[in-house]
Symmetry: C2
């Protein structure tokens, strides 16, 4: 967790460097886009290049007669979750869920107590835990999320989500979704887009609340995912059980590779924040024909949230890192760059 | 391919054994269902228990106030493709596509010429080819459908579909879709259901025509699928390439396991025909709470199509086999049993 003062953020001159989707034809004049904004679109956003890029993209792809018009069936927008739709610091929420289950796991399987990465988790040493790799966390996830039926898992996730709270805000994790991004989801859907999540976390976890929290149904959530196994319970009823075997790995380029595998489409818009699993998705989306929107959320608001990312001269916390390479790519290719500090009037629905 | 006379079909007394979804509450009287039928629902179907089961299922799950009412967001119906939506004999269409590409493949890689299963394919010995296992065909599919970008594959499939013809009817394969099943797809969608395909074949192949032919968009097609790999072309543009590695295997229970992995839902209705990949899906759907429809298409019409399946006392051709075990399960659990010969007035749109 970083608590550096937010003044550090201005070092890179974020506002002046924001790219404005230069490849978009001027279907809308800036005045029209501003009129839209004034009329109540994206109300939690400050006027600025990021908000304007989103509005211009939607106009360009949904206005009949526009050279970049996209038929409704092809209007697909993809969103990363952690750090893009909700808070990912100090630890990814799903990892907190898994860590909360390690105790019960080693009760069942005491032999894991002395094996890494379980040993480190049980030590309670927060610094050591923070240094575990994503592969370590996948191992913990597979161990703690396997062996039960899909229904048992759902019940357990629901129960956890209803009680577990983020230590900084003392609120449920599902309250820590970014209000400005909820408005983007709503705005895109109001314009005929279907919204999808592609997460480095496991799809089954996110599906448990995606509809209620984001308005995104389970079948539009792609994630890293383990295998399921068909079998029968004691009453000979057929069941599906979660297996400790990774089938889809959404880290790095896996996010777009598996999105294609699952849906056979290249999205028209993509929102992400992290070099660990969003960079290739955003690059691939932006490289498509016609008007495309790739957008990166920058965590530069230590006062209202967290500030991190080496591309901004901020600490590399290894969680949701925005690398220099990804930042340079964003500028070069004309992605929308979203500054939490400057572009968002408020972060959460409970901010008044 | 079986050419046994269709009279063989009556041996098992199909009509009398058709199960009528006994677990459905009588939301509709038979008279109401018949009135529906008379009003033009499913016009290519003869009146009978199969048609009635479909109509009663839709009424039970979409009538407000019905104890088995299903909210629109959860209305998902799953369809097998080969043998359920289109003709699968004498060889699965996608296998014909692959076999047509083996010649070009061995030109590029002569070392495959003497290796099985390629050697058998190149021999042209139809009997030997018909004896290849599904695993052999997966190997051929991976070898012939890999190494190109996703766009190059699409172009090749489109080209093939526009010219390749079924030897018996001398028509494009996409013309050999069952008109009564197109009506079921339409009827379900008209009642708020979203229709999905789950095929033992590869999703990428089916997605190329699923929207045009079935009204099912690519993102609602699940299949056996290989890996995709992110990379760059010579101009440094990002590309996705098809890789010779199987990620999802939809044979046997894999169809429902992977449906859950991709969409996180148990369908309310499922249509299939084969023990090789539909049995567990149909069993799992039927075991869900409330009103569920599982339906099996029986190929018992040697005159208009083909007649095969040991459960009907017909030859086991190893393609789309309906086993005795699956047939007994269908009867025991009250699946709808669809006789092509007796339930369908016409098979194809071009039948007048």
């Amino acid at each position: 967790m970083s608590t550096r003062p937010s003044s550090a953020v201005s070092r890179r001159g974020l506002l002046t460097s924001v790219a404005l989707l230069p490849s978009l034809p001027a279907v809308l004049t800036a005045t029209t886009a501003n009129a839209q904004a004034a009329a109540g679109v994206l109300p939690s956003w400050n006027d600025g290049p990021a908000k304007q890029a989103i509005i211009e993209f939607v106009k360009a792809t949904t206005t009949k007669g526009s050279p970049n018009f996209v038929p409704p069936a092809e209007r697909i927008a993809e969103f990363d979750q952690d750090g893009t739709l909700w808070v990912e610091h100090p630890v990814y929420t799903q990892i907190v869920y898994c860590l909360d289950h390690v105790g019960a796991l080693v009760k069942d399987k005491p032999e894991l107590k002395d094996r890494e990465p379980f040993k480190t988790v049980l030590s309670g040493d927060r610094e050591a835990i923070a240094k575990l790799s994503m592969r370590d966390f996948f191992e913990i996830a597979l161990a703690t999320q396997s062996g039960m039926t899909v229904e048992e898992f759902r019940v357990d996730v629901d129960k956890w989500l209803a009680t577990a709270k983020h230590p900084r805000w003392n609120r449920l994790y599902t309250e820590l979704v970014y209000q400005p991004m909820l408005e983007v989801l709503h705005y895109l859907r109001a314009n005929g887009y279907r919204t999808f999540i592609a997460t480095g976390g496991s799809a089954g976890f996110v599906r448990e609340y995606s509809d209620r929290v984001y308005g995104i149904p389970p079948e539009q959530v792609a994630g890293t995912e383990q295998a399921f196994k068909y079998g029968y319970d004691k009453g000979q009823r057929p069941i599906l059980t979660r297996e400790p075997k990774l089938v889809l790995d959404n880290l790095e380029a896996g996010k777009i590779e598996n999105f294609w595998l699952m849906y056979g489409r290249r999205p028209y818009a993509a929102f992400g924040n992290s070099s660990s699993d969003d960079q290739q998705m955003l690059e691939y989306v932006k490289a498509g024909t016609g008007a495309r929107l790739s957008a990166v959320v920058m965590h530069d608001d230590a006062t209202r949230e967290y500030a991190y990312g080496p591309a901004q001269g901020l600490p590399d916390t290894k969680i949701g890192t925005l690398s220099q390479d990804m930042y340079d790519m964003a500028k070069r290719q004309g992605w929308a760059i979203i500054s939490m500090k400057n572009d968002w009037k408020r972060l959460f629905a409970f901010d008044r």
